[in-house]
């Protein structure tokens, strides 16, 4: 091998680690270049969405299931943290962990019965879960504050550093995203991850390969619920105000659209999808009014032409084209 080939091979071998390092560096430097609080506020929102989408992509993209109710777990995290810190007076970090554990338990209780379903039935069941959660948030005034929301949630802090402006929140939120990103990337490159792709491909085949499909689906569901709960807690502490409208079914569908646009079964695509869908309304004014129409339209178009999602779909198409060309070369 020449030194150039060696260098390229090194990059190929460590592509995941290098990409993570590169992105981390870019994120570290970003607030130094861009100090407009409005822009940072947007990227922070991307971070929160990305956290939910990462987990949801494991469940939808890798394990091949569907959930239209992840805003419920997002909401449980947010309201859980709000109630624990304000009403019960717990320290925020402790509250975040306890809430995440409770949400994991709730997810387990929900997963055992509803993951017997699949396809449309699973979509309906998770949608129902979201409706129930939304109604509870709206109606249980004494605890949740009802339609007017819940305010006065304290900021997070480490030592003397309080995360109360966009600049500091940027580092906090993106640290969470990068750690989750690495954990997810590790997961999908392991035997467990391959087991999940097998479940998405064909459950009978997955079982024949030794995958406990039922447990695998439940575990991923819980993992995605915990990530959504953490994102919710961060959301609550970030804006110090939560209201039921942030956790309705349209939030859930937006999350699914982010997964689909980014690409099913693509961890990097999750980041792209979260960023694109969060930023779209900023770029085009008419989105503000017709947001749901446009999101629906995007969903339909992507599913029609690239059913695997924008990023994954394009990459797959390119890979297949290349392979077919190579096949032809071999044949001739």
């Amino acid at each position: 091998m020449t030194s150039k080939q060696k260098f390229l091979y090194f990059i190929y071998l460590h592509r995941t680690g290098l990409s993570v390092t590169g992105l981390s560096l870019a994120l570290l430097l970003f607030p130094l270049i861009e100090d407009n609080p409005y822009t940072l506020g947007l990227t922070n929102l991307i971070a929160i969405n990305a956290l939910v989408v990462l987990g949801l992509n494991l469940f939808i993209g890798y394990a091949g299931q569907i959930s239209l109710g992840h805003a419920a777990f997002f909401g449980m995290g947010a309201y859980g943290s709000a109630i624990a810190t304000v009403t019960l007076g717990m320290p925020p970090w402790l509250a975040m962990v306890i809430v995440a554990i409770l949400v994991a338990l709730v997810a387990l209780l929900i997963a055992v019965p509803i993951l017997r379903l699949s396809g449309h039935y699973l979509a309906m069941a998770t949608l129902g879960l979201n409706f129930v959660m939304y109604t509870v948030l709206l109606q249980w005034d004494e605890v949740t504050g009802g339609p007017s929301g819940f305010s006065g949630i304290p900021y997070l802090s480490i030592g003397d550093v309080q995360f109360d402006d966009e600049f500091r929140l940027h580092y906090l939120l993106w640290s969470f995203v990068m750690v989750s990103l690495m954990l997810c990337l590790n997961l999908v490159r392991s035997g467990v991850g391959r087991g999940l792709s097998a479940v998405a491909g064909d459950e009978v085949a997955a079982q024949a390969l030794g995958v406990n499909t039922r447990n695998a689906k439940i575990k991923v569901f819980i993992l995605s619920a915990v990530l959504a709960s953490l994102a919710g807690s961060l959301f609550a502490h970030c804006y110090s105000f939560v209201s039921p409208d942030s956790f309705g079914i349209f939030t859930s569908t937006d999350m699914v659209i982010m997964v689909v646009v980014g690409g099913m079964g693509s961890i990097w695509g999750s980041l792209f999808g979260a960023a694109l869908i969060t930023l779209l309304p900023e770029w085009v004014d008419m989105f503000e009014t017709y947001k749901d129409f446009v999101h629906g339209g995007i969903l339909v178009l992507v599913l029609m032409f690239l059913p695997q999602g924008l990023v994954t779909g394009l990459i797959d198409t390119i890979k297949i084209k290349l392979a077919l060309r190579r096949r032809k070369n071999v044949a001739s």
Binding site: L183, N186, S190, R194, S197, A208, L209, G210
Partner: protein, 254 residues
């Protein structure tokens, strides 16, 4: 190695299998044949835990497996291929083979997420084994192709490689040459012979009589859910019951 005792399966009131009894001896290639609708696929599904037999026992190395879930049976060392290919089209060929080593890649989701050094080493050795299997089946140059672009014969070989890469105790092959041309069939037959000489125990479900008669050590004949004959290929060929049920018709037309 594998022993079936009076295995029956009814779908509604319809008996698909009745009192099937035979053994698959270690280190041999047993062929399971029978006309269409004889219950061969049902039997394979019973053995692998996809469906549960209505009655009867299946022993694998002295252990009763008749009511175990499919993934546990697979982990005991029984692997299978499928009649209508079940490879994962979006994964690469190499990743498809690696799914055959899923149970050796570790179970814990937490450990997988942390990717500690021990897991990294294990991943590397699994990858080497998968590449080795690809080499054995002549697919090494296509390791990074998405599996869906492969030709049909190559896909069949991917499935065969996936079923054998984990060094299973017993391999169940459900029509491995269905839909292949003569040349490809010969290649698969050669590979089965190699597996056989490497000491693998196999149960082959096949319609291709030439292949069965050529490579099987023992032939089991099913007809209408009943086991009507067991023996060497030559014995079965001369068995009047078999001739009547199956080969007889072939003899008349040939």
């Amino acid at each position: 190695m594998l022993r079936l005792e009076n295995v029956s399966k009814n779908f509604g009131g319809l008996p698909a299998l009745s009192e099937v009894t035979f053994t698959v001896p270690k280190g041999q290639l047993t062929a399971l044949i029978g006309p269409n609708g004889a219950g061969k696929s049902t039997l394979i599904n019973c053995m692998t835990g996809v469906i549960e037999p209505s009655s009867g026992q299946i022993f694998f190395q002295q252990q009763q497996i008749a009511s175990l879930p499919a993934y546990k049976i697979s982990r005991l060392g029984i692997s299978r291929t499928f009649q209508n290919l079940k490879i994962f089209p979006r994964l690469t060929v190499l990743e498809n083979i690696l799914t055959g080593l899923t149970s050796e890649g570790g179970d814990s989701m937490l450990m997988a997420m942390l990717r500690l050094p021990y897991l990294r080493h294990r991943e590397r050795s699994l990858k080497l084994r998968a590449l080795e299997a690809l080499d054995r089946f002549g697919l090494a140059d296509k390791a990074n192709w998405p599996a869906e672009v492969l030709a049909y014969g190559d896909k069949k070989r991917v499935e065969l490689a996936r079923a054998t890469v984990g060094k299973p105790q017993l391999i169940l092959l459900d029509e491995p040459v269905a839909g292949l041309n003569a040349e490809e069939t010969a290649t698969v037959a050669e590979q089965l012979r190699l597996l056989r000489s490497a000491g693998h125990t196999m149960l082959l479900v096949e319609h291709d009589m030439d292949l069965v008669m050529e490579i099987a050590d023992q032939v089991v004949v099913l007809d209408s859910g009943k086991c009507i004959a067991t023996g060497t290929p030559d014995e079965v060929r001369c068995n009047p019951l078999v001739l009547e049920a199956y080969l007889g018709r072939m003899g008349a037309t040939a």
